[in-house]
Amino acid sequence: MLSFARFALDSIVRNRRRTLYAILGVTLAVSLIAGSLIAIDSASFGLLRERLDGLPVDFYGQSYAGDLSSIDVERYEEVTDRLLTVDGVQEVSYVVSCSGWALLNSDGVMYQGDPYYWYPSGSFVFLPSDSSVILDRYKIEGEAPSPGTVAIPSSVATALDLSVGAPLICSYQVSVYDEVNFTYVYSYVNISLEVSQIWTQEGVTEDYWQWWYSEAQGVGDVQLGGVYNPVVMPMESASMVVDPVSEVTLLSCPETYLVWVDRGEYANIVNIALSIDRLETLNGRLERAASEVSARFSCPVVQVLFDLGSDLSQKKLAFIGLSLPVVVLGVYLSVVGVEMGMTERRREIGVLKSRGAGNGQIFASLVMESMLLGAVAGFLGLATGFLISRFLLVPMSTLYESEAVSTATTSFFISHMTIAVVVLFGILLMLLSSYKPMRRASRMAVAEALHQYTPKTVKVEYRSRYDIAALVFVGYSIACVFWLRQAAPYWSGGSFVAYLLFSVTVIAGSSFVPAIPFLLSVSIIRLVTRGSRRLYTRFSWIVSRWTKELHYIVEKNIARNPKRASNIGIIVSLAVAFGLFVSITMESELAHAEKVVLYEVGADIRYNGYCRYNETGFYDVDYSVLGTMDSVDGVDKSVMVREQSVNAEHSYASMAIFDTEAFADLIEIGSGWYVGDGSHDITDLGENGTVFINEDFADANYLVVGDTIEASMDVYPDHDSVGITVSAELRVVGVLKQLPGMSNNLYVDSDTLSFIEPDWYGGYNIIRFFVMVEEGADPSEVADGVLAWGSSAGLEGWVEVTEERLEEAMAAPEFRTLRDFLYMEYALSIVMLTCGVGLVLFVTVWDRRNELACILARGSSPEQMRRILMGESISLMTLGMVVGSSAGLLSAYLYGVLMDGFNSSEIPHDLVFSWISWVVVLSAIASFMLASFLATYNAGRIKLAEALRIRGG
């Protein structure tokens, strides 16, 4: 048996063409797996790197062992040394901090970290004598301060208008409770220090949970040793602070130990669980080493890994799900390739058998061969997957958004796991797709195998049962989608068990939507090409104008090898169906997400204004300016909405008062926003004395349409703090969920409340403006204009810009990774299509050499020959395109219907057929034409004399 196995190896090496056919499909399928795994790994590796880049320190331990009076460098050094002995630790340093200080300049201006609260936000950080590692890791731009001086963040310097050499005054408020007078007595410790360094820092944060800090870090902000915007001082000059304070009070003075390890070794993306485990163990050992000062250590790297890990497993699942269509295509291709090789070697096997080889021997040698081939395909797939993931991503991601640097392209990572998985997958796939043909081939009767020597029409048994079953299943699945959408939410009758049964079957049925492109493509094309030849013959008329006098040969082609013909159709159809399904679904989701953001904000720009108070205690708004929003540069339309707190139905409710007509004109409000039969419209409020209420308010107060409510509020006609209460009777004309950009309890038109003069409003009310910008204007610039306009009107406000939010969302690494992945998938499916169709056509031409030579010998010109072949393949392609695009569109539509059912339908899903979908379709056509041209080109140049000599395999 074993000596016979040598035959397997020989067979691979000697029949290179056949070897190529057999592994092409598997290689392509595997290269997608490899490509995706590499892309996912690389992307997560990139993500890990990006996030770790923002972490200046691997472990930090805080101890509250001492107070300011007991600063003890020796102890710190001792702990540091002990920490250094822990296995795996590379570097250790420490800082000591002291918070609670007010920072002032010599003019007495105080630094306030947050403009809304008043509190002294300054802290001292004392650096050890060798602080280079800290400055380096914390990406500090600047030097360590010289003894007796301080370094301050440039944000502090700017706020206090300090430059190098200027004095910074640090002030500590000491409060003592006077038990005689029952009051606090305050005294201040003031220290004046010279600023010798002004620091800046590149986006980092010590605490992973505050990742937003590193992203949103203000210009000149610095974070160091757990302190934001510290006043940094060398430890040796600590006495300048310690001495004056120690005289009056005790101040807590936490020491922070900073520990660095080899991240490459400890933060391993391949085995996140193990990495976390090791880091946590190390964390414990660090705490143990620093037990003398009972420091609590924490490891932000663990948080990053933890976050990424749960993220990653989800993402991998999602990506594997997404890549399934293309894997299916690849598997299909590999089955086709293997079967082709097997048919070709029937004769060879017959010969072997006639020389005495047993079924078992043949089977064993075939299995051996296919395992070898599988391994070869695995490695090849790995290589091509690598190339594909590298080279396709770069141009594709730059095409989309020129400045976006894809996370997946900037980092490369391939794990041992990937290699093992891919190669094993190659072998498995090869065995799977060749098992049936191998068994059939090894059991074949000798006489039959040796018999074939003249071209014959291939008679492959075909049963339409399975295809019809598949179509019925698709129909069932479609029905389920609509059931789920329409009937399920209103299901009321029946027992719980019946409901459970119903929902399980319906949900199971509709969850097959992603499989619809596959089922439809395969079954329809098989039915059309193999179930009835007449259908295909009819269909092929589309190329008849081109194939002219030879069209009757094209019509007959299907009869020759219907299986192969249907394979070409199926490959084209699958590629197009999945390409369209994925691209349309993704682009529609994206468009929907954009709409969601737009409707969340309510317009291109939402300006939220608060009233500033003037000296008289009344708010200070210039009413003449409020109406002039539209004059701001770039503003197309705007609507002002007053948000007023009112008393209605014995409780406080928020009321939005606005020009409803103008708002309806500003943004489209579909029927999904209203509760009930959908006959409502916001412009109904044009009728005086009417109100729309939201669902919560209606539920809480048992209100229905037609009820009347009384709403009252305080207004201030005299512009002082003494108000009067006005009230209005309002009739409920509709209930709604909310409105774009607004979530209030009551919505009324400003005309209804016109008896309240604009300058009567007072209290804590908000004035919002919803702004649509002019075509071509930059929303961010317009927003700046709006802000400036707001403060000229006396408002304190901020803006939300839809486009900025979108950009933010699109810049998220996760989003970019997903996008890159999808592009890779599109590209791969096109590559597969080209290779697959090219392979099948090439084999077809090769197989038919004899027949084609006959036609050539009868006087056909090479050009006529190509017309016949191209005619055949184009009619198959057209069939594939028609079926594929309908299947793709249908599934995308169904998916949209499903998503509408699951999400709230306030913002409906629209199908978006974007340029990407066009690219998918057009490149499918182009690659198909290329493949069939290349495959048929040689047909015109067949060596006649040789081809006609060949009479068998």
Partner: protein, 245 residues
């Protein structure tokens, strides 16, 4: 009808590193409106010669003149026209297009030559009756016997009414009775339609119909005789050995 004059024909096949010389300076001439038989041991180069004359292959050197044209100098397009209009080829293994019916197979060369459909239909009917296959016109090759397939093959070769008919062992796959019928058809073609027929064969009965018989050994003509001479000699040798070949 124009004569076929072959001069100094050399054909070398290169397969990898080795070379096979199939024709080594073959000279011969064949008269128009005759049946020319070519015989010789296996591998002597008969098919090669026929392929070159038929425009299916090109020689390494030499010339093949038909009238005043040299087939060897033809461009690819001229070769196509040559195959379409000047020669008709009958193959040992019939080489019919399996997906087409008998009638459609016969029509194929005419379609390739873009004949109009009325003319094509009339010609096909004519050919079908010539080979006696009127009632099998709608059958596909795999539903026909070998002899029937060969008749269709003959009709196909005749479709565009070429002056020259090339047949490579047309009776090799057939029993002797069917083979005989085919040979009679060839004779009819020479006598009634004025065709030039070149037949490669091992069939000893060829002497009955051939005007001339050429023997090729190892890529060269070694002997040429009239059909009658061949027939007589064949009878002698059969008698002397008293075993039919």
């Amino acid at each position: 009808m124009a004569d076929i004059v072959v001069k100094d024909l050399i054909k070398v096949y290169k397969t990898g590193k080795s070379e096979v010389i199939a024709l080594r300076g073959l000279d011969c001439s064949m008269k128009g409106n005759t049946i020319q038989a070519i015989m010789g041991p296996s591998g002597c180069g008969k098919t090669t010669l026929l392929n070159i004359i038929g425009g299916l292959d090109r020689p390494t050197a030499g010339s093949v003149r038909i009238g005043d044209e040299n087939v060897v100098d033809f461009t690819d397009d001229e070769l196509v026209r040559h195959r379409r209009e000047t020669v008709g080829i009958v193959f040992q293994f019939f080489n019919l297009v399996p997906t087409l019916t008998a009638r459609e197979n016969i029509e194929l060369p005419m379609r390739l030559a873009k004949r109009d459909s009325k003319e094509m239909k009339a010609r096909t009917d004519e050919l079908l009756s010539l080979v006696g296959m009127q009632d099998r016109a709608k059958h596909k090759p795999d539903a026909l016997s070998g002899g029937e397939q060969q008749r269709i093959g003959l009709a196909t070769a005749l479709a565009n009414d070429p002056p020259i008919l090339l047949a490579d062992e047309p009776t090799g796959e057939l029993d002797s009775e069917t083979g005989h019928q085919i040979l009679m058809l060839f004779r009819k073609l020479r006598d009634e339609f004025g065709k030039t027929v070149i037949i490669v064969t091992h069939d000893q009965r060829i002497g009955q119909i051939a005007d001339s018989v050429m023997m090729i050994v190892d890529g060269r003509i070694t002997e040429e005789m009239s059909g009658k001479e061949f027939h007589d000699r064949n009878l002698d040798s059969t008698r002397s050995r008293s075993s039919p070949s």
